[in-house]
């Protein structure tokens, strides 16, 4: 499931992926951390800059392509997956990343996001989730919690929020993961995994908007509580979490339950499997929400299914190889008559 890429040039460094544009996010914005890790990971992976395209829509996160010294398109609101699909359909050798946010990807662009994942277009989608509209200055988003007070919800939001990973799994995504802006190592590893996936890789990145929603992810960043609020899922390992690794997740029927590992319950714990064909387990994990459950971080699902864009190009190649492309014959392919 790796990209077919040329020999990685040994010399690439993070700096090679830094463009000459001044970065204009608010001081302290989580986007800086994501940008830095992306540049670092790309240098490590060694995909040539010219073979890499970043496509975005509109929003704070969507300024991302300007800061990457690769090919890039800053498109229109919600439509990045559509451009990415066109790019891959023409040149499947390119590595295409879509950078989007909770408003861009799940509100105005929801339709394109789900269809891109359903088709399994070979693009990596990074959804920066900060549960608020930042660029338009603080309205609630499709991932804002009910009751969230913003300028457009002075009495609290009455919208029920989307869970991005549940949406992705429901939309048949073949790779679904969650990570966080400031969780440097985990973010790097998750980006590496996404890059290695052939097909749509959907990554939800908890991202902190320091201006309009600065406390949204405190429960996953505050060192005094975060370990009790996150369960890191790893292939083949039991779902254990907690500051002292003293809690675990057991599956009772179709429902997850928290059990106390210290009480000797570890045999019953669920063991993580990313590549189950049936997506019910991954979906169940995605439904574990704060504060009732720890939030799953890591790769929830990674299965192999032919990518739409590869199949499209294969069909065309088969047809071209049939060697029947005679344009003059095509024009004549109807009842014809001759005028002398």
């Amino acid at each position: 499931m790796t990209d077919t890429i040329a020999e990685p040039p040994a010399s690439l460094t993070r700096k090679d992926f830094v463009s000459d544009q001044e970065v204009r996010w608010c001081p302290g914005c989580g986007d800086y951390a994501i940008l830095a890790q992306m540049q670092k990971v790309l240098a490590e992976i060694g995909v040539p800059r010219e073979q890499t395209v970043f496509v975005s829509g509109i929003g704070c996160s969507s300024r991302f392509p300007y800061y990457m010294d690769t090919y890039g398109v800053h498109s229109i609101h919600g439509r990045a997956p559509t451009l990415a699909t066109g790019i891959k359909a023409v040149n499947p050798d390119l590595t295409v990343w879509v950078v989007t946010g909770d408003g861009d990807g799940l509100s105005i662009g929801g339709n394109h996001l789900v269809h891109c994942m359903r088709r399994n277009v070979d693009v990596k989608i990074l959804l920066f989730n900060n549960r608020v509209y930042g660029l338009t200055k603080g309205q609630y988003s499709p991932t804002s919690l009910q009751g969230h007070r913003t300028k457009s919800t002075p009495m609290g939001s009455i919208d029920y929020p989307f869970n991005p990973m549940s949406v992705a799994i429901g939309a048949e995504a073949t790779f679904v993961a969650r990570t966080q802006d400031t969780n440097t190592k985990h973010l790097q590893e998750t980006l590496r995994r996404a890059a290695a996936h052939r097909g749509t890789a959907f990554v939800e990145i908890y991202q902190n908007c320091v201006v309009y929603n600065p406390t949204a992810w405190d429960h996953t960043t505050d060192s005094s509580v975060r370990d009790d609020n996150i369960v890191y899922v790893e292939e083949g390992k039991p779902l254990v979490y907690g500051r002292d690794n003293d809690k675990g997740i057991r599956i009772n029927g179709m429902i997850p339950e928290i059990v106390d590992v210290a009480n000797g319950a570890s045999d019953e714990l669920a063991v993580h499997q990313e590549s189950l064909d049936n997506s019910s387990y991954a979906y169940m994990l995605s439904r574990m929400q704060h504060p009732e459950f720890p939030l799953p971080f890591g790769v929830l699902r990674d299965v192999s299914r032919p990518a739409y864009t590869d199949m499209l190009v294969d069909q065309v190649k088969d047809a071209v190889d049939s060697g029947d492309a005679d344009l003059n014959a095509l024009l004549h392919s109807s009842d014809t008559w001759v005028v002398e």
Binding site: P48, E50, T82, T85, V320, L331, V339
Partner: protein
């Protein structure tokens, strides 16, 4: 049924065949009756015989509206001629009506003295009621007075002819009654059956009983004409004797011509053709046509919506393919934001707008020309875009190539306007010599030295088309305001105005590449009739008629709507009056009056139907009398 006998009676009938210069025939029936196929076959045979032909199918938006009703009617009109014709004709001389609704809906259009052939079996009490008849009109002499009526028990006779085909149900046998009607029409117009017999073999070859059934029904219909004595005379339209350019011809619809034009353009540009679109009437046949041509490296993408379609095309263009989408009014509206992104990113792509009756969902299967101003001005901000329009079904071929040529030469999205009439109507097409079509030259810059994303060609102001994968030319483009040359995001007031003026000038310079306009008729005089798009045929025929009556009238047809050709102003000034017939409320009229010191007279119609020749003739006479 036996072969049509080459008997004495046949010879007698042939002698009696009335030679005619042209005839208009209309087939009408339920949308499940196979009227389009019947009309197609009748037309193909006539075209192969050497007639000029022009067809106009007219069908409902519903796939199968309730059988027997007016809403469910599907019609196909064809004009056959021994000389040049430009439209499918104003009024049919022969009507084939498969049920009472078809008679009720079409009788008023028929020429006085016209021939009416009805399927008598379908005139049941139930069908009569659905068509709004209180009593059977076939029994009412006054109702059909002045017409030559033929009551043919089509269903009964078709069933009789297929009696022993045990594998077929009665329902399947009844489907063959259109073949019987077609056979009768072949006899009436003295046409051979071989083209259609070969078609049945090709289409139904895997089901021998179906081939046999259609073949028998066709021959039975022919034999019925041969043996019945009801017809006053057969009609025969000889092969064209006027001067027609020599060469190989085929029949083609506008949508088919767009498909072939796009593939030809891609081959001439040595490019992958990427086509992203969402199904919509009447543009879907372009998607279907191209999907079957993957062997020419055509990559089709049926998107989740119209917005995704234009988005995919912008992405494909960025990646270096010749990229095209098509839609119709409602879908084109949805593409507006994407079009503007392509305008600002200065990427080449083509949007084909197969116009239909609007506004909103409007009349999906009917024709109109009311999107001109919306494609020119229907986007936010100053948003200049080249717009061209095909005049005839066959011309859609070369206009598709022209659209691609403009797009890549000037690095801009281009609108190609066609319409529901052009898309579905057909006419003869002289197959082009592919070697004579100029290559489409495309240069993708690969040299990083001195490269800037928005550096410009001196003559065209086009920016370089650099394709991802090219080392050293990595760059970012987007929809934000930008600085010229560098393409860097800029909110500087001067940069913004400079870019707006530069994009406008770039599009204006397309006019440097346009050929001089053709004027048909005197180069100055009393009246210039000016049109655009699918009204060409009706305007041309009307002007010919007015000229023959001694009027000082000329016509000029615009293929390029933005920018307008440079010589248009001078041409307009040479006539005392200007008439603009349009299937809208006066959109080209408004443009011309805004751009030139001219007052124009509009002839406007928004009924979902093309102009009749006589409507334009009447207007010319009114102006010049």
């Amino acid at each position: 049924m036996a072969e049509p006998p080459a008997s004495e009676s046949s010879a007698v009938n042939a002698e009696m065949a009335r030679l005619m210069d042209s005839v208009v025939v209309r087939f009408s029936g339920d949308s499940g009756d196979g009227m389009q196929l019947t009309g197609d076959q009748f037309t193909n045979t006539s075209a192969v015989l050497g007639n000029d032909i022009s067809t106009f199918p007219d069908f409902p938006a519903e796939i199968r509206a309730p059988a027997g009703t007016l809403a469910g009617l599907s019609g196909f009109q064809v004009n056959l001629a021994a000389s040049d014709i430009y439209t499918a004709g104003d009024a049919p001389l022969v009507l084939v009506a498969m049920n009472p609704a078809a008679l009720a809906a079409n009788l008023a259009d028929l020429e006085p003295g016209g021939v009416v052939i009805v399927n008598e079996d379908a005139f049941t009490r139930n069908n009569l009621r659905k068509a709004g008849y209180d009593a059977n009109p076939l029994d009412d002499e006054s109702y059909l007075q002045g017409y030559e009526l033929h009551r043919v028990p089509l269903t009964t006779m078709t069933r009789a002819a297929l009696d022993d085909l045990d594998e077929l149900s009665n329902q399947q046998k009844d489907l063959c009654k259109n073949a019987f009607a077609l056979g009768l029409a072949f006899w009436l117009f003295d046409r051979p059956m071989d083209t259609t017999l070969a078609f049945y073999q090709e289409k139904f070859g895997k089901r021998p009983q179906v081939v046999e059934a259609n073949t028998r029904a066709l021959k039975a219909g022919y034999a019925f004409g041969e043996t019945t004595e009801g017809f006053q005379s057969r009609m025969s339209i000889p092969s064209r004797t006027d001067v027609v350019p020599p060469g190989t011809y085929r029949r083609i619809t506008g949508n088919e011509a767009v498909v072939l034009g796009l593939v030809t353009a891609a081959q001439k540009a040595n490019k992958t053709l990427f086509y992203g679109s969402y199904p919509i009437t009447p543009a879907s046949p372009i998607l279907e046509g191209l999907a079957a041509l993957k062997r020419f490296d055509v990559r089709t993408f049926q998107a989740e919506d119209e917005i995704a379609a234009i988005g995919s095309v912008i992405g494909a263009s960025f990646a270096g393919a010749l990229s095209v989408t098509a839609s119709s009014g409602p879908g084109v509206s949805l593409k507006s934001e994407g079009m503007n992104l392509a305008i600002v990113m200065e990427l080449p792509l083509v949007v084909v707008n197969v116009q239909r009756g609007g506004p909103s969902t409007g009349l999906p299967t009917k024709t109109e020309q009311a999107d001109l101003l919306s494609v020119l001005y229907g986007r936010n901000g100053e948003s200049p875009i080249p717009v061209i329009a095909a005049a005839t079904a066959a011309e859609c071929f070369e206009m598709a190539i022209e659209a691609c040529r403009i797009a890549v030469r000037h690095m801009t999205p281009v609108f190609l306007l066609t319409d529901g009439y052009l898309a579905n109507s057909s006419e003869p097409w002289l197959l082009p010599d592919l070697d004579l079509i100029e290559p489409i030259d495309i240069e993708h810059r690969t040299d990083p030295v001195g490269y800037q994303p928005y550096m410009r060609d001196e003559a065209t102001l086009a920016r370089p088309w650099v394709v991802p994968g090219t080392p050293g030319l990595e760059h970012r483009v987007g929809g934000l305001g930008k600085q010229d040359v560098t393409g860097n995001v800029s909110y500087d007031p001067q940069d913004n105005e400079h870019m707006i003026k530069t994009r406008a000038e770039k599009v204006a310079r397309v006019a440097d590449f346009l050929p001089p306009l053709d004027v048909f008729g005197p180069d100055q005089g009393d009246l210039l009739v000016i049109g655009w798009g699918g009204t060409y045929g009706a305007i041309r025929a009307a002007v010919e008629q007015a000229q023959a009556e001694g009027r000082s009238v000329a016509s000029c047809h615009l293929r390029h709507l933005n920018p307008l050709p440079k010589d248009l102003g001078k041409i307009l000034s040479r006539y005392r009056q200007v008439l603009v017939p349009e299937l809208n409320m006066g959109q080209l009229s408004m443009l011309l009056q805004a751009r030139y010191p001219v007052r124009v007279i509009g002839l406007n119609k928004v009924q979902g139907q093309p102009f009749r020749i006589r409507e334009i003739v009447a207007k010319i006479n009114e102006i010049l009398t």
